[in-house]
Structure formats: C-alpha cells, structure tokens
C-alpha cells in the first residue's frame, strides 16, 4: 500500500470517531433545548395534556436520554436514520430527496465565487496601488457587507419582477439556479478576492519570482506557472473551509428562493423539534464537510508534488 493510500485510509477511519462525536453532541444539544416535538405539534393541534402525554409515550420521548441515544445509535449502525416525528417519513428518504438540490446550489455558488474571486484577486495583485486594486477592495467590501438573503431579494426584484429574465421558483431548471447561486456565491467571492490578492502580492515579491523575471521569462508565464501555482494552496484550504459556510448560507437562500434542500428541511425540523431529522441532516452535513476537507488534502499533493503524506 502506498503512503498516500495508507494516509487516506487513516483519514477515513478517523472520520468515524469524529462523526460519532458529532452525532452524540447533536443529540444532546437538540434534547437540551426546551420543549419537544409534541409541544411543537401542540402549537396548532390543541391537544389536551393527556393527549400530549399519550403521544410522548408513543414516540418514546418519555424514556431517559441515554436510552433514547442508545436506541438511535443502534439504528444508525444498521443504516436507519429513523423517521420524522412529523408525518413519520423516513429521515433517509427526506435527506435523499433534498441533498441533491443543496449540493447543486453549493457547488454552483462555489463556482460563482471562484470564477469572480480569483481573477479579480489576481488583477488587484498585479495592478496593486492602481484604480483596479481600489475597485477590487470596494467590490470585496460590498460583497462581504451585503447579507445574501437581502441580495437575493434585490435580485428577484431586478431580474425576475422588473426585467422578467429569470424565474424565481423554478427549482429544476438551470435558469432557476442562477440567482440563488449568485446571491450565495458573491459574498464568498469577496473573501476569495481579498485572500487571492494578499497571497499573490506576497508571492509576486518573492525571490524566486524575481529570479524568474530576471531570467527573462514572460510575465504571464511567471504569473501562471510560478506564482499562481504556489498561491493556490492557501486558496484551496480556504475554499474547502468555505464549503461549510456555503452550506450554512444555503439555509437562508433556499428559503428566499423557495428551493428544496437540506437548509429548508433542517430549519423546519429545528423549529418543530423534529430530532431525528435534525440529527440526520447534521450528520450528513458533517460528513460532507469532512469529505471536502479530505479532498482538499488530496488536492495539495496534486498541486504541489513536494507535499507527501505518511
């Protein structure tokens, strides 16, 4: 087995205790918040105290917490994420029918962020001290300052209501993805602009870049082959970390654009104290986050052959 394969196997095995820890932590966090699913149902169902107690008993909510946790973990090991306390649908089915839309939105937002952020950051670094640099700073400031939900609402007004170019509620078409992805990705683009600029400014001042230039290499070769390749490492680390931020942002954007997704699902589940759904969603989101970070580690090796895992 190569050192890389051994490393990957080790990392994958390490995810098991991490995910177990997340499951247990989430379990206690959602159970420590006041109220339960029955009190959530009570808001509109007008059950008597006796009916509520019957329902709690039927759902196993009266059992001690460690019993409930044990029951949940036993099922989890068997691949059963349980059933929603509202309506009784299997959690796995609920997640399966929502995760695709969230991944689609997150990846599209990431593409928007990279496509806008990296070139603008490079431009600002090359033209530092000029109007281009100032413009990139301003764009980044605005991008970071504007809440994505508000940007989404403004986009709806402009591109859907006023111009009629883009649909608001069409979940299934590529056109329906443009506004949500842009609203979610622009704030991340702003962060990428700043990081790319800072990294590239440092690298462009490095000795080896100066040497490359002194050797008479063309500017674009120096930039693309020598500077950018090294600048990508911190950028990739940050993009991996931003994946989690985008997942969180998707919660808001999915609501604004009436999109299906894990965000909508988990928000409603938290409000309803629908513990199995909350736990299932957190577990899946955590798994995705861990896997993306693993992917980032692998990409390090691809980008920089000097890096070796053992």
């Amino acid at each position: 087995m190569s050192s890389m394969s051994a490393y990957l196997l080790q990392r994958l095995l390490l995810t098991i205790p991490i995910l177990l820890g997340i499951v247990i932590l989430t379990f206690f966090m959602v159970h420590l918040t006041p109220g339960d699913a029955v009190s959530a149902m009570q808001g509109q169902m007008k059950m008597s105290a006796q009916q509520m107690e019957q329902l709690r008993e039927a759902l196993g909510l009266n059992d001690p917490l460690h019993i409930q946790l044990g029951r949940y973990l036993t099922k989890l090991i068997q691949g059963d994420l349980g059933r929603s306390l509202f309506g009784g649908q299997p959690v796995a089915l609920l997640i399966a029918s929502n995760i695709g839309a969230t991944v689609q939105l997150t990846v599209a937002a990431m593409v928007v962020a990279i496509v806008i952020g990296v070139p603008l950051g490079i431009l600002a670094a090359i033209k530092r001290g000029t109007l281009w640099d100032a413009a990139s700073v301003i764009i980044a400031m605005i991008g970071v300052s504007i809440p994505s939900f508000w940007l989404g609402l403004m986009m709806i007004q402009l591109f859907a209501v006023t111009l009629g170019w883009l649909p608001i509620t069409e979940n299934r078409s590529a056109r329906g993805l443009i506004m949500p992805a842009a609203a979610l990705g622009l704030a991340e683009a702003a962060i990428i602009v700043r990081l790319t600029r800072a990294t590239m400014v440092e690298i462009l001042n490095a000795d080896y870049v100066r040497t490359a230039r002194a050797k008479g290499l063309l500017d674009h070769i120096v930039l693309w082959r020598h500077a950018l390749r090294n600048g990508l490492l911190p950028l990739i680390t940050m993009i991996g970390m931003q994946f989690g931020t985008l997942l969180g942002g998707a919660v808001v954007i999915e609501n604004v654009f009436a999109r299906q997704g894990l965000g909508t699902l988990v928000t409603q589940a938290v409000i309803n104290r629908d513990f199995p759904v909350v736990q299932g969603c957190v577990l899946v989101a955590a798994t995705m986050y861990v896997l993306v970070n693993l992917l980032v580690d692998i990409m390090y090796v691809v980008i920089d052959p000097r890096i070796r895992y053992s």
């Binding site: 808001g43 402009l158 309803n272």
Partner: protein, 565 residues
C-alpha cells in the same frame, strides 16, 4: 435629433439600483424590531380594511382559460393526512382539495351538505344522524359508504395521534351504521356546534382502512374523495394535485355537479413573504397567501391583481394577563396595562391601518359578540397612572414605579413573526412607569414559554368559527397551548370554567348568546387580557382567477369550482 425619453423599464432598474445602494449603506444600523415601517405610498393613509368576500361560485363555470393554478403559501406541510397532520395551516389548505368533510361552511357562516347530504340531531345535541351521499368513490376506486364514516370516527377515537379530529376524541362516544346510507354519532356531551367543527378542512373524512394499511406514509400519498387527487410531492419544492375526473358528488356549496375545470393545482411554499409577492408580480404564480400588511395598498392598486382581506373570526390578537404572578395579580395593575395600551397607535404604525381594533376575547363577527365592551376601556395613560398610584405603585428614581421595594416589572412574550405590536406595547407601558421587557420566542419555544406560566403578558390570538371554541383558549383544562389555568387561579378561575362549560352545551341560541356575552364581560371586567386588534388575513391573486370559495374561518380556500376567466 430629438433625445429619447428613458423607458419605464429604465426607471424601474434605476430605482432598484438606487434602493440597493442606499440600503447597503444603511443596513448596518437598522434595528428592525424597533422601527415602524413608513407608509408605502408617499404618506397616503391606507383605506380602512373591509371584509371583502372572495369570489363566490355564483354560477357553474363552463370553461377555464388556463388549466393550471399555482398557489404560493408560507409553510410546507409536514404531511397531508387528516389524522397525522401537524396542524400547519397549509396542510389543511392542501387537504381541503383532496378530502371532503361531512358538511361545509362558507365565509357567510352558512352550512352546506358535504359527504353528508342531510342530518338531524337529538333534542340535547348528543346524538347526530347523518345521511351519506350516494355514489361517492375514494380516489383508489373503492366505494365510500356509511361504514367508511363509522370507521373514520372510530379510528379518530382510538388513535393516539390527534390532529384536527383529535379535538373530538373525548367527545365521540360511539359511531354506528344504521343502514347503507345512514350513520349515527353519539357524543359524550351536548355539542350544538358540532356541524361547525365538522366543517373544518382538518376534519376531512380519511380512509381508515387505507390509513391502517399504509400507516404514516398515507400522509405522503393521501387518498380522499375530493375534487383533486394527489399526484406528486417534491419535498421542499412543490405538491401537485390533479383533477379527479369521477368527482360528480360535489357539495351544493360548489354549485356544480361536474368535475373541476382546473386540471392541476401546484402548491409551492416559502416563509419569505417578499418572495411570494415577487413571484405573483412576475406572473409565476396565481395566488399568494399572507400578503405583508405594508404591501396591501400597493398590490391593491395594481390592476393585474385582486387583494382580498378577510377578518378572521376567533380570539383577536391580544395579550393574556397572568393573575397568578405579581404584579399582574393586582386588578389595578392589569387595568392600568389596558388603559396604557395605545391600540390605535399600534394599528397605524405597525399594521398600516389594515386591521381594526379589538375590545374583548371574541371577534365582532360572531353573533355572541358583546358590543358593550367597546366602551369599557379607552386609551388613557393618565387613568393608567392613577390606577397604579391607587394601588401604591409610586415612581422610583429611574422612573420605574416601585412598591414595598419591588419594581413594577412585567415580561411580554412575543411569538416572532406574529406579534409585532409588542414593542409598541412595551413603550406604552414604560411611559406609565412599568419596567416592561420583551421575551422573543418562536413556534414551539413560544408554546413552552406560555405553558411555563412564568411570564406576565404573553401575546396570543386564535382562529375559530364557533364561539364555543372559547373553551380551548380560556378553560383551565383547555387544550394545552392556551390553558387559562396558567393565568387565572382560585375562585374566579373556577367560575370562568363553569361559565364556559355551561355556555358550550347551551342549545337555545338566545340563552347561548347571553351566556357568551356574560363570559366576555367577566373576562374584561377582571382585566384578564389586553385586546389589541382583529386579525385580517390578506391574500392576493391574479385577476382572472374566479370561483374559489373561502371557508368559514376565512383562512382556507376550496378550488373545486375555481377557473380562469
């Protein structure tokens, strides 16, 4: 060359861009909870609301210009099973198209036959006999019979999960088939308002054998007898219903004996009100629920849309007052709170004059409404301060009144998104010497906070179609969310309990009216609540959508007879 004037589109784009920039600059300092939004149209005062009945099915429509209706509601259902549904209003909204009730009630409070074509009740309203409509079929093709109704009521009675019909669990004694088309329901107590309860869209008759066979999954593939069949549910996106071509047994309320003209109804959901409105304005959807108050005037002025405002019957938006906690255990303090509350100011600044003031625990649309309450209290801060002085509450060094070393402190509970008036109330109370705090909660945490009995002035409201439902809001046993047992203790609490039970089972209409008026006076004389406003429910829809019917609560729409003109 003559310069060309910019097009209206140019100005629209410019407006949005300017708005974007200005809001971006001001976003950091905004304090949405404290600021009252400005009127939407250049300072124009909005016209007072009127209860506009939605388009009634005046005559049987012959054709529809479009066959697909898209409804944009606020919250996605958790399930669409009349038994297991959580009570989310949109569950009932969707269920109202799939399931049918024994009887129907429209916005004029008239009861119509539904799956029951006729009915009679015993003198004491404990035995009810229903004659079932002939030829009705479930969506799976099996026949709907008198036995189906009995099975349903037995399922409701014996099922531990109660939802809409759950409120009747304790009332149903037995259900039996008399003959092929007749069902007899025996109750444990007189229920003169049973028909009103049965007309609730949450009381649609479910297929008990299907429910037993399929279990909770029935909520995701529901089978009813209604005008539309379930087609698909893309979670988080939409629910699609299709026309039931066999539906020829519709209630006389729909004034049609043929299947619906609409081929398909699509329900989409988002809690973001501005998105719902934008989708309507962009022509993507035909009907939006819960129009934001600040947009009513603007959308009403748009010739493409019809805006309907309906006064929702029930308990007006209000604040309970906890009589078991100091200082609201003192009658003078409770009365002072009512006198200090500027409800007209609340209506103008928070609700843009799109609602009307309330004066007691029952909406004015009910025949049992007590008009004398309108003169009982007025906005009078001086009177509030005088009452506090009389009770020994004197101004302290920081302006907050004190008595025996105790500060005049009250906690107002807000259910986020529903009780925006609480901040004005807080300011009103502070102006007369209270240390008023607001506890913001949402959904279940609100239920939890109220049921804890720890807070003085929780905000609340309720929607129902019969005065007898006051029991759930005021009886000490109540129905969980609003047990007045948390708020009214001792002898007076027991008296209110007895009055409610007595009125609930009163059969004589005049006696009943008097008893409910006595209850309302009792509540207000004891200052058990701060009435704020009558809740209006605004919806907007495309002008060419006609023929839908609004139910007795004003909340739900039936689309069986809807069409596009």
């Amino acid at each position: 060359m003559t310069p060309r004037a910019p097009s209206p589109r140019f100005w629209s784009i410019l407006t949005v861009l300017i708005m974007t920039c200005s809001l971006a600059l001001s976003a950091c300092g905004a304090s949405p909870q404290q600021s009252a939004p400005a009127p939407t149209q250049g300072g124009n005062v909005a016209p007072p609301p009127t209860s506009v009945p939605a388009t009634a099915a005046d005559a049987a429509p012959q054709a529809t210009k479009r066959a697909r209706l898209i409804f944009f509601g606020n919250l996605e259902p958790a399930s669409i099973d009349v038994i297991t549904m959580s009570g989310n209003v949109n569950e009932r909204q969707v269920a109202a198209q799939i399931f049918e009730t024994l009887v129907y009630m429209d916005q004029s409070q008239q009861i119509y036959p539904g799956l029951a074509r006729a009915w009679k009740r015993s003198e004491d309203a404990t035995v009810w006999t229903f004659t079932i409509a002939p030829g009705v079929m479930w969506h799976d093709g099996t026949p709907f019979t008198a036995q189906s109704v009995v099975d349903y009521f037995e399922y409701v009675r014996d099922n531990p999960v109660g939802s809409g019909p759950g409120t009747l669990k304790a009332v149903i004694n037995s259900a039996r088939v008399i003959d092929e088309t007749t069902v007899e329901l025996t109750l444990t107590a007189p229920r003169p308002d049973l028909l009103i309860e049965l007309a609730d869209p949450g009381m649609g008759i479910g297929n008990a054998s299907y429910l037993k066979r399929v279990g909770a999954d029935a909520g995701f593939n529901p089978i009813g007898t209604g005008p539309f069949k379930f087609k698909e549910w893309v979670r988080g996106s939409q629910i699609v219903l299709v026309r039931n071509p066999d539906w020829t047994w519709g209630s006389p309320m729909f004034r049609m004996t043929s299947p619906p003209l609409l081929e398909e109804i699509v329900f989409r959901f988002t809690s973001e009100a501005q998105t719902r409105l934008a989708a309507l304005e962009a022509g993507e959807v035909d009907f939006v629920d819960l129009l934001p108050f600040q947009d009513v005037v603007r959308v009403r002025a748009d010739p493409r849309f019809t805006v309907t405002g309906v006064l929702l019957p029930g308990m007006p938006q209000m604040n309970y007052m906890h009589t078991g906690l100091p200082p609201t255990n003192e009658l003078n303090v409770r009365k002072a709170i009512i006198y200090a509350t500027d409800k007209e100011g609340i209506i103008e600044s928070v609700y843009f004059n799109m609602v009307e003031p309330a004066y007691g625990p029952l909406s004015r649309v009910f025949p049992e409404y007590e008009p004398a309450l309108e003169q009982m209290y007025e906005y009078n801060p001086e009177k509030a301060m005088q009452l506090l002085e009389e009770a020994g509450w004197r101004p302290g060094p920081d302006g907050v009144r004190v008595k025996d070393g105790r500060r005049l402190e009250v906690v107002i509970v807000e259910n986020k998104g529903w009780n925006d008036w609480v901040y004005v109330l807080q300011a009103n109370l502070q102006a007369v010497g209270f240390d008023a705090k607001v506890l913001t909660t949402q959904g279940p945490s609100n239920t939890e906070a109220i049921a804890s009995g720890k807070y003085h002035v929780p905000a609340m409201g309720d929607v129902f179609a019969s005065a007898s439902q006051m029991t759930r809001d005021w009886h000490s046993e109540g129905y969980g969310t609003f047990p007045s047992g948390h708020f009214l203790k001792g002898e007076e609490g027991a008296r209110l309990d007895a009055m409610l039970k007595d009125a609930e089972s009163e059969i004589d209409p005049e006696q009943r009216k008097q008893k409910y008026r006595d209850i309302q006076r009792f509540i207000m004389e004891n200052a058990l609540m701060v009435p704020i406003f009558e809740l209006y429910f605004y919806v907007a829809h495309a002008n060419d959508l006609k023929g839908f019917i609004v139910d007795g609560t004003g909340f739900y729409k039936y689309f069986a007879s809807a069409y596009f003109e």
